[in-house]
Each structure stands twice: as structure tokens, then as C-alpha cells.
């Protein structure tokens, strides 16, 4: 099992998360119930990446690309079909019971929906204290200790002790999301999975919560796996960007590299769609159509059905992730030398120009 990991199972000092060839295939429903169909939804299909201590990796992509599934796999909310997950140099791919619960002390998640992610019948204080209690981080009956910790956490996320007695429906969306953050950091995790944590908030709350994430990260040195569909959010918060499409990694690299010199046609298209300003973008690649179904996806590159450069090779052979620059990996036949660009590279959108 250990051979699976790039690190070879060797302890690497500042490695927080290592994900290797992670797959999640769901059995697809529908069709004739009498004939057992073998169709599967390949929501996450062979994703590999790692996160170092205190690093922020943003996962970007369209809805349905598998980025939320990836986050849930990493936190072990759902069982991976195959592949490996290592957290702080421990293989946690299949841990169960007590071991799984001790994993929860190292990795936590903040959910997208600030309304549904808080128990409507628990006060804010009780919700935040819950992980402390179920993990017995305080002695039984040490109410003061728990209260003190809850107060401290509330203040850390920009709320105050008075909020502890409120019920979730008395709070605004931004406040609720702060409660969700306080609950997630209550056990001092090393890794925080953030599943579209600002998508449900209005713009001003978004900005404030994003700043809170930045500040928390600076003060605690937590690593983030930040899942978002919003490229500007990713650019603001992330050190590295992972671009996903239909369950696969298209491009993975440092923020500057991915945003300034994107190599993958899909990344280019995403960026072009995000920066639709001025006449100069008129020749930019705007994608037609929808992402392919992840039910029995076509062979070859997942993006070949929408790619402006696609050639016969793209439908036949799946491109491997190739390192184009230091730490900047791209999965595209343009880089394996098997395909020529249709549009000259000079029309690539200069992002910060």
C-alpha cells in the first residue's frame, strides 16, 4: 500500500496531505431495473496532489467537475473507490472507528451552506462545543473550560461571547459561516477543507469572510484545501491552483504560473470567461456546450469535446500530467508534443495586463 505514494511512505517533515491517484466511482442509477447496468459515475478519477504545511491549495472548476467530492474524500466523509490519502504522513485511506475519529482532530471541513450546516436546535455555543465534547478534549463536567474555549473561538472568528446563546436562525449568513469556521477550528486541525465557503454569501460578507480565512491562516499556520468555482477568490487566497475538469486534474501549479501563463486550453477558457472585459477579449476562447457526462466518460482527454485545439489524438489517448515548469503540471497533448495549437499562443489572455 505504501508504494502507492510518491513519498514512498517516507516521512516528509512538512507534508500535510498527500493524495495519490484518488478515485471515486458511484454506481449510476436509472435504466432498466431488471438488467443490472454496469455504468458508473466517475466523479473523481485519478487525482494526485499534495499540500505542505501552511499552504493554501485552491481547487477550481465548473460545477459537477468533482471538486466537492474531492474535498469530501480527503476528509473521509465518503469512501474512496481507490487511490491513497496520507495525512501528516499517516495512511488514512481506509482507517475506521477510533482511528478515523482521531483523523477528525487533524482535518476539518467548512461547508458551503451556512444555513444547513448548523443544527437548527442547537445554540451557537453548543454547536461549537460539540467537537470538543465528543472528542473529550475537556474533562467531563468542565463546563467553564468549554465555555472559555467557545468564547475564545467566537472571538477568533470575529463574533463575541454573546453569540454563544443565539440560535442559528437569529444570525446572518456571514455570521453563521463564522460559526461553522469556529466549529471547524475548535480542535486545532492542521488541514481545513473549505467547500465553497463563501459561495452562499453576499459580496461584502464574502470579502470579510475571505479576510478572516487569510488572517486565521496567517495566525495558525493551517493548510487549506480551498474549493471554489470563483477564480478571483482562488487568486486572492491560494498559493497553488488545481484546475479540475470532469473528475480529472487539468493543470496544477503555483498561482502566478497558472493565472499568468496558463498552459491548458481549459484553464485559458476559464480565465477568459472570468475576465470578460474590453474588446481585446473578443477573440478569446469562450466555451460552447457543457462538460461531458461523468457517467462512462469518453476515452482520451476529458476536454476534447470542447477544446478549440483538439485533434484525433485527444479522443484516443489520455494525456499524462507533464511538468512544464517547476511545480507547474499540465495534462494536455499540446505539451506531449502530439498536437499543434490551432490558435497562436500569442492570443493567450494576458491576465494582469
Amino acid at each position: 500500500m505504501e508504494r502507492l505514494f510518491l513519498s514512498g511512505g517516507i516521512k516528509i517533515k512538512n507534508l500535510i496531505l498527500e493524495v495519490v491517484n484518488l478515485k471515486k466511482h458511484f454506481p449510476a442509477r436509472g435504466g432498466n431495473p431488471l438488467v443490472r447496468s454496469e455504468r458508473t459515475v466517475k466523479a473523481v478519477d485519478g487525482v494526485s496532489f499534495d499540500i505542505r504545511e501552511g499552504e493554501v491549495v485552491a481547487v477550481v472548476g465548473e460545477s459537477g467537475c468533482g471538486k466537492s467530492t474531492l474535498g469530501r474524500l480527503v476528509i473521509r466523509l465518503i469512501e474512496p473507490s481507490s487511490g491513497g490519502i496520507r495525512l501528516s504522513n499517516e495512511d488514512v485511506t481506509h482507517v475506521q472507528g477510533e482511528e478515523l475519529r482521531s483523523l477528525r482532530l487533524k482535518a476539518q471541513i467548512v461547508f458551503q451552506d451556512p444555513f444547513g450546516s448548523l443544527n437548527p436546535r442547537m445554540t451557537v455555543g453548543a454547536s461549537i462545543a460539540y467537537p470538543l465534547q465528543v472528542n473529550r478534549l475537556f474533562k467531563r463536567g468542565d463546563k467553564e473550560g468549554v465555555e472559555q474555549r467557545v468564547k475564545e473561538l467566537l472571538e477568533r472568528v470575529g463574533l463575541n461571547a454573546a453569540h454563544a446563546k443565539r440560535l442559528p436562525h437569529e444570525l446572518s449568513g456571514g455570521q453563521r459561516q463564522r460559526v461553522g469556521i469556529a466549529r471547524a477550528i475548535a480542535v486545532n486541525p492542521k488541514l481545513l477543507v473549505l467547500d465553497e465557503p463563501v459561495a452562499a454569501l453576499d459580496l461584502s460578507a464574502q470579502a470579510r469572510v475571505l479576510n478572516l480565512f487569510k488572517e486565521l491562516q496567517r495566525n495558525t499556520g493551517m493548510a487549506y484545501l480551498f474549493i471554489t468555482h470563483d477564480l478571483s477568490v482562488a487568486e486572492y487566497i491560494a498559493d497553488r491552483i488545481l484546475v479540475m475538469y470532469a473528475g480529472k486534474v487539468m493543470e496544477l501549479g503555483p498561482r502566478g504560473g497558472v493565472f499568468k501563463t496558463p498552459w491548458h486550453p481549459y484553464t485559458e477558457a476559464l480565465l477568459a470567461a472570468a475576465i470578460l472585459e474590453g474588446p481585446s477579449s473578443s477573440d478569446a476562447t469562450i466555451l460552447d456546450g457543457d462538460p461531458p457526462s461523468t457517467i462512462d466518460p469518453p476515452p482520451g482527454c476529458r476536454f476534447n469535446t470542447r477544446c478549440p485545439h483538439a485533434g484525433p489524438i485527444c479522443a484516443a489517448e489520455e494525456p499524462a500530467l507533464v511538468e512544464v515548469q517547476d511545480g507547474h503540471m499540465v495534462a494536455c497533448h499540446l505539451l506531449t508534443g502530439k498536437l499543434q495549437r490551432r490558435i497562436p499562443a500569442s492570443t493567450r489572455i494576458p491576465v494582469s495586463a
Binding site: L77, G116, S117, M122, V134
Partner: protein
């Protein structure tokens, strides 16, 4: 500056009372059926509770000279039955067994159903199959036959009636909990509890049950009315409360033979059953509207 805060709080307290009052008025207007039902059930509960103080006679005391006294005859506000027992007193004492039959089986079946339904709904797989399929088996038994079978084996009486009604009510209570829980377990806060490190029993008791309580209580309340009628029916055929103890179903049976000449002996307990059953139905419907998860927020 300093005087501002105490002033403002003291200003606020009377307005808070006004706010609560106007809230109450608005509540009464929008939830009429709860108010009407609560008044009807509350009246019966008050009568049952105050029976030792208010009832003019003992419910079992026989006055042979006053047998079949009519409504309004001196000393007997609602008349007397064939043995000269005061109907008003018997109605007041009989309210106790009717309420017990309405509430106790529902409480017992409700608690068991909440646990069983939550376990089946949250865990699924084998527990779900075992629990839900055995509920289907119980569901297939006709309630009257079940009550007769329990009375035949354990003997008639209030306790055994409560037992058989609890068995009858268990499948519907389990099923409704099961349904609530299967939608509840998809909520992100359940995932959040899982990620917090909570064990399955902790999730069921801390997260699932408190949130399924309201709809299950509302459903239970809507069944209380039919339980009153059903319990009276069982007592009517002689398998419930045993004479001479006062019970409404029993009283209807007592007046059966004199129904043509002295209809009040049977119809008054019938009316009492109607008031309590209708009150529970109003209350149940109103609670369901109020607590329905789709109506919340």
C-alpha cells in the same frame, strides 16, 4: 453616556410585554385550529384534574331512588343513569381514562418509534430491514383483533388497553420518524457532526432525534383523537375499563338499553368523546401546520 444603557433596557421591558401580547394575538389569528383545539382539550383536562374537587358525587355511588333522572333534575345537572349514578360526576372521572388512553400509548409508542425509526433511518442496511419489515408485520394486524387478543391473554383493563394501543401505534410512529430521518440525515449539519468525530449513537441522539421531534409530535397529536374513539370502542365492547370504574365508552354501553326513552345516558358521554376527539384533531392539525419543516423559517 453611562446612564444610556440602563435607561434603554428599562424602556424596553414594557414594550417587550406588548410585543409578546401582540405576538400572541397574531398567533391566535393565524393558528385558529391550535387555539380551538387547545381550548377543547384543555377543558377536558381541567375537568379530569378537578374531578375530586368539583364532581358533586362519587362516580360509583348508587342512588336507586334517582335512577334515570333527566338532565337538569334537582341535584343531577346532567341526570343519572339506570343505577342512579350522577352522569356529570361519571363524565368528569371518565375523562381521566379517556385522556390516559389518548396520551399514554402515544407517548410510549412515540418514544420507541423515535428510537427505532431513527436507527433504521440513519443507519439503514440491516437494521432498517429488520426494524421496518417487522413493523410491516405489526401493521398488518387489525387493531381491534390485536386489542381483543391482548385482552384475552392478559385480561381486560386500562393497563392492558394501553399496552395493546402502544403496539398498534408503534408502526405508524416508527414509519413517520423513519421518513423524517431519511431526509434529515442528508442535511450538512449531520455531516458536520460526523466530521466533528461524533459516533453513530451520538449523532442519532444529539442531532437526529431533537430535529425529528417536532414533526413526530405533530403527527402523534393528530392520532390522539382517533385513539380516544378507539379506546372508547374497546371499553364499549367490554375489553377496556372495567365497571364500576367510570369510562365514556362503558357509559355509552350502559345507556344502550334505555336509548329510546332516556337518550341522555348514552349521548352525553358520546358528546364528551366528540369534544375530546375533535379537540385533539384540531390541535394535531394546527401543530402539524406549525411544525411542518417546510413551513419553518
Amino acid at each position: 453616556m453611562v446612564s444610556l444603557s440602563p435607561n434603554s433596557t428599562s424602556d424596553r421591558s414594557p414594550s417587550r410585554v406588548m410585543l409578546a401580547l401582540s405576538n400572541g394575538r397574531r398567533f391566535a389569528k393565524t393558528h385558529k385550529s391550535i387555539v380551538v383545539g387547545a381550548i377543547m382539550v384543555g377543558f377536558v383536562v381541567a375537568m379530569a384534574a378537578l374531578a375530586p374537587v368539583l364532581s358533586p358525587y362519587s362516580p360509583t355511588r348508587i342512588h336507586p331512588l334517582d335512577r334515570l333522572a333527566g338532565v337538569g333534575s334537582p341535584g343531577y345537572l346532567l341526570g343519572a343513569d339506570q343505577q342512579g349514578r350522577d352522569i356529570l360526576s361519571r363524565l368528569m372521572w371518565g375523562a381521566r381514562s379517556s385522556l390516559a388512553i389518548a396520551v399514554l400509548p402515544l407517548t410510549i409508542a412515540g418514544i420507541l418509534g423515535l428510537v427505532l425509526g431513527s436507527v433504521a433511518g440513519y443507519i439503514g442496511k440491516l437494521p432498517e430491514t429488520l426494524i421496518m419489515r417487522s413493523m410491516d408485520v405489526v401493521f398488518g394486524l387489525p387493531p381491534i383483533l390485536l386489542a381483543i387478543a391482548v385482552a384475552a391473554t392478559l385480561g381486560p383493563g386500562l393497563v392492558n388497553l394501553v399496552i395493546s394501543l402502544s403496539i398498534v401505534l408503534l408502526p405508524p410512529m416508527t414509519r413517520v420518524t423513519f421518513q423524517v430521518v431519511t431526509t434529515l440525515k442528508e442535511q450538512p449539519f449531520v455531516d458536520a457532526a460526523k466530521v466533528s468525530g461524533a459516533t453513530t449513537p451520538q449523532i442519532i441522539f444529539d442531532q437526529i432525534i431533537p430535529n425529528s421531534l417536532a414533526p413526530v409530535i405533530a403527527y402523534g397529536a393528530s392520532l390522539a383523537g382517533s385513539m380516544v374513539v378507539f379506546g372508547a370502542g374497546i371499553s364499549f365492547i367490554g375489553l377496556g375499563i372495567q365497571p364500576p370504574q367510570a369510562d365514556w365508552g362503558r357509559m355509552i354501553n350502559d345507556g344502550r338499553e334505555v336509548l329510546d326513552l332516556h337518550p341522555h345516558v348514552s349521548t352525553l358521554p358520546g358528546l364528551a368523546i366528540f369534544i375530546l376527539a375533535a379537540g385533539f384533531n384540531f390541535l394535531g392539525d394546527g401543530l402539524r401546520d406549525l411544525l411542518d419543516p417546510r413551513m419553518r423559517m
